[in-house]
Each structure stands twice: as C-alpha cells, then as structure tokens.
Amino acid sequence: MAGLVPPGPTTVPAGESKKAEEKTDFMNLPCPIPFEELHREALMSLKPEAFEGLRFDFTKGLNQKFSLSHSVYMGPTEIPSQSAETIKIPTAHYEFGANFIDPNLMLIGRVLTDGRLNARVKWDLTDNLTVKANAQLSNEPHMSHGIVNFDYKGKDYRSQFQMGNAALFGASYIQSVTRHLSLGGEVFWAGQHRKSGIGYAARYETDKMVATGQVASTGVVALSYVQKVSEKVSLASDFMYNYITRDVTSSVGYDYILRQCRLRGKIDSNGCAAAYLEERLNMGLNFILSAEIDHRKKDYKFGFGLTVG
C-alpha cells in the first residue's frame, strides 16, 4: 500500500499543462499574415524576378537608415504585341534610387533615365495602423498610377482599405480561425473599367508546410502548396485556373537556400522552365544568373548581374 502512489495533484497538472499547450487557445490566436502576402512562400519559390541582359546594382549606405542605389540595366525588353511572336527591343537605362528605412517610416524612390518615378511609402501611424502608398509616375499622360492602402492590424485579424487612381477601391479582411488556419476575403470596385469583384482565400500553415487557396469572381482559382523539406530546401507547387477563360497553369519548383547561394528553379505546364541563382561571392557582393526558357513561345531569356552592397 505504501508502494502505491495514487495519482496526486503533482502529476496531473504536468500532464494537463502539456495538453493545454497543444489545445488551441482561441482567445490568443496569432496574427495572420497580410492578405496580399497570402501566397508569399509559393511566390518566392516559383516566381523569381527573371530578367534578360545585364544588371548591375550598387547600393551605398550613408548611415543605418539612409542609402542611395544606382542600377544599370542593358538588355532586350519585351513589348506587348498582338501576334503570337514576342517582340523585343534593346533598351538600356540607369536608375537612381534613394531609400530611407526607419522603424516607423519607410520611403523608397527610384527614378529612371526616361523620367519614370517609382515611389513607395510605408508609414506606421500607430502600432496597429499603417498607411502605405505606391505610385508609378511617368511623363506620358495617362500612364501614371497610384494606390494608397490603410491597414489595420487587430489581435488576430488584419483589415485593409485601398484607394487608387482610376477610381479603384478595395477592401480585404483576414482572420485567424485556428492556430494554423486563417480565412479572408476581399472586394474591389474599379470605377473607370466598370468592374467589381469579390474573392475568398484560405491559408493553412504549419511549421513544415503552407497550403493556400484563393477564389475570386474575376474567374481566378489559385491553389498553392509549399513543403519545407528541411531548413535549406523547400518544394513548392502551384495551380492556377481561370474558370472564365478556361486557362490552366500548373507549376512545380524548388528553392535551395544554402550558405553561399540561393537557387530557385521551376517548371511550368506552359512548357516554361526557369532558374535563378544568387551567389554570394564576398561580403556584400552577389552574383546573379537568371534563365527562362519558354519552349512553347520559343522565347529564351538569359541574364546575368552583379549586386554590390
């Protein structure tokens, strides 16, 4: 009898607290990621910024918050054409940029040799309210766009209201439903183009994988799945279907984040294979190789570049 130890109060709470950790506390859910970054992992792996030609970026930091950037690009640029052929025009431009990055205020401006300005502003008014603005201004008439976003971050939800030129209004809302699942929706109204739409999205995330799905009344159905196989390797796949135009695209890709380099590759159901390599040659010196081979359109793009700073 003395040997038998009845389960006393000391043992049960230890077991219960472990179970409580696993059981979700619905009053304490994590804040979801912003609605526009829903497909973030899949986009990072499957859609690297492929370019064609030479690219040289030099970023010079003047102090912790302020830096200037000089960027040279030489290569063919694709212009939209009605026929099936891709038409490319060789272009070269120099881009000057100024960045000011503060915890509360971020200002990024880039100006090209042809006078186009790309400006981004992000201002944290309070802990929860953020104002973002994005503008592309050009000297040509009717070619300038601007969008202002007001983001409000709650305890376990995020909401955003968006206004743009050409009478564009949009709103989105995303809410954490469980520890892993978040659901959201968006509406937009474009005055000048007389279009409006509504969409829903869901994101299921664990330590090892992220699965997202999005449906919109513009006809887009987008599903993606990213599996983090290890710290260095992740595999991603993506499925996009437009139920109005009956277009289907599916792609599979990988993302290796190694000590000295980052290699991303993907292959598409449109017969397009792409790869993007960023190699760190030295502290602050990065070498970039980009390749995109489109067998269906017979469009082959190869680019190389160097990023300093």
Partner: protein, 72 residues
Amino acid sequence: MATKVSLKSKGKGGKGSKGSDEKSTVQCLKEWSTWAVKKAKVVTHYGFIPLVIIIGMNSDPKPQLYQLLSPV
C-alpha cells in the same frame, strides 16, 4: 448677377440658371480636385526623391555632403 452666371456657365456651356448653383458646386469641386491631383502629381514627380534625400541627410548620424556623391 449676370457676370456671376456667365462665369459659371463658361465652364459648362450654358445650363439653366435655376439648377446651375448645385451643379456648379459639384462641377467646381470636380475641377478643383482634378487640378489638385494634377499639381500633386507634378510635385510628387519632381519632389519625392529630393524629399527622401533631405530626410535622409537629416537623420542620425548625420552623413556628410561629400558622401552623397562619392562612390566609396
């Protein structure tokens, strides 16, 4: 009175004077907001990068002027 009416109708091509008051405030607002947006676009286009540079040069620790132009 006649000059007032003629000034308002100049922009709109002679609407009836009875409804011209309400219509003219809406039209005036639209014209002024279009004018303001156009001026704001020009100001932003020429002034955004200088604004970022001024804010950056006044942040702590204050960088020197030569650092702005030298490649080191």
